[in-house]
Symmetry: C2
Subunit: 263 residues, 2 copies
């Protein structure tokens, strides 16, 4: 499939493509539609996860929740959350036990699914407004860093705030703030601008997740709360079972990016 063909897939076509077992990172698929992070936990941990999201809305913006045992919703009309994401990661007691393309064998009727906003949406908005995104230009994954700032704890769930970094030309930093603040459902405005040491980041060239990017002369490192934060925190609590998506292999939703813009 060509890049143009992937971009033109409808969300339901893309989900069907993955349901049939195809495995691809989802960047560039179904252009204009929101992609989302996945976090699936047993019902007995669901209140703590939702409360963690309520207390950490920038890192954990909830787009939708499938109640215990539900496998579809209007975010993925006609779809099935157990098969429609290209790749899943299964954790037992906080340890990764499987990567797979179909969750059916792990599914239980007490599993609750959280669908969490992803920064792909605001990256499109940045580019549409003439702000280039370094990791896209450089053809790599966005660099992500564990910080020394803790997320707000909720019940059993606690962990470090994880941030993504995009270098932005100094003359465009204010515009990047303005543009991303209009997308609170997908991490919103930056949490930090220009002083990595204060977040406990000593070397930008060594991200904890993703890839390093070259920082263009005159650009400032700008940090956004990252969707890896809830996954990292849930893992720290070592639940009996938790399931996420594999990095970069997101759920394609039926919601247009533009619908998440405010005001």
């Amino acid at each position: 499939m060509t890049v143009a063909e992937r971009s033109a897939l409808s969300p339901s076509q893309a989900r069907e493509f993955f349901r049939e077992g195809q495995v691809l990172p989802t960047a560039g698929i179904s252009a204009g539609y929101a992609q989302a992070n996945l976090m699936i936990v047993p019902r007995d941990l669901a209140f703590d996860v939702l409360l963690f999201a309520q207390r950490n809305p920038k890192s954990c913006p909830v787009l939708g929740v499938l109640e215990a045992g539900e496998v579809s919703s209007e975010l993925l009309a006609g779809g099935d959350i157990r098969t429609d994401v290209p790749k899943y990661v299964v954790y037992e007691n906080g340890v990764k036990v499987a990567e797979l393309t179909d969750l059916t064998e792990y599914w239980r009727d007490d599993l609750v699914t959280f669908i969490i906003g992803c920064s792909f949406t605001f990256e499109s908005a940045l580019m549409d407004n003439g702000i280039s995104v370094a990791h896209i230009d450089q053809g790599v994954n966005v660099p992500m860093y564990k910080t020394t700032t803790r997320s707000s704890t909720a019940g059993a769930i606690s962990g470090p705030m994880v941030v993504s970094m995009r270098p932005i030309p100094a003359s465009q930093v204010a515009d990047a703030v303005r543009i991303t603040s209009r997308y609170p459902a997908v991490h919103g405005a930056p949490v930090h601008i220009g002083n990595p040491e204060e977040l406990g980041i000593t070397d930008l060239s060594k991200p904890d997740f993703g890839d390093a990017v070259k920082i263009p002369e005159g650009s400032i490192p700008v940090f956004w709360a990252c969707g890896v934060t809830p996954q990292a925190a849930v893992m720290e609590s070592k639940p009996s079972l938790a399931i996420g998506h594999a990095p970069g292999h997101m759920l394609i939703t039926d919601i247009k990016d533009a619908q998440y813009q405010v005001p």
Copy 2:
């Protein structure tokens, strides 16, 4: 205590005043600080309540949650949620069983407290911007109506959307939208403007809660999602125990109204 003295109380002074057993509606107390609705339920219903809030953010904006057994938080520093609200209403199996000024005898370690935004905050903003608020001018409680629109269901919790109504001069309706949309934490923008029949409201002079207001010539009825919505829905689910505040007798928080303004 004079009106000016009530207005000048700090939030902690106001909470102490109520802790000592005073009973007063809270309108006008601790000017500039956010007042909040209360909803206390057993832990086994807490996920459904929080999910209801996530799915109905306009009627149920969560400002904070006290986890099971907690009685204080940074929203009421040094305070105690069991004593610091002027009047509570206790429901068992959906039926009101008590109104009281101290919850101690009903308190259990599995109770979770939801602190929910209240429109007092945006009413101050409307008046600061030159838009008069009819029920305040007329010295009555805001009129509230059950609508035929259903809230989004979450688990066991389901009910009608309840709205409050403020008549706004036609030339100021757009301003009222703009101003209140900047306060998403306290119900935000209106849900409906100008056609009560469509909400199933046949007679504006007969509100389901609160008081009727005279609608000035040339004013349009504007409807906001109302904090009574979650209480009404939780009651419909007939939980073994649920506790709210008495209408108009709110929790005074330490958070300034201005902090809830975006962007």
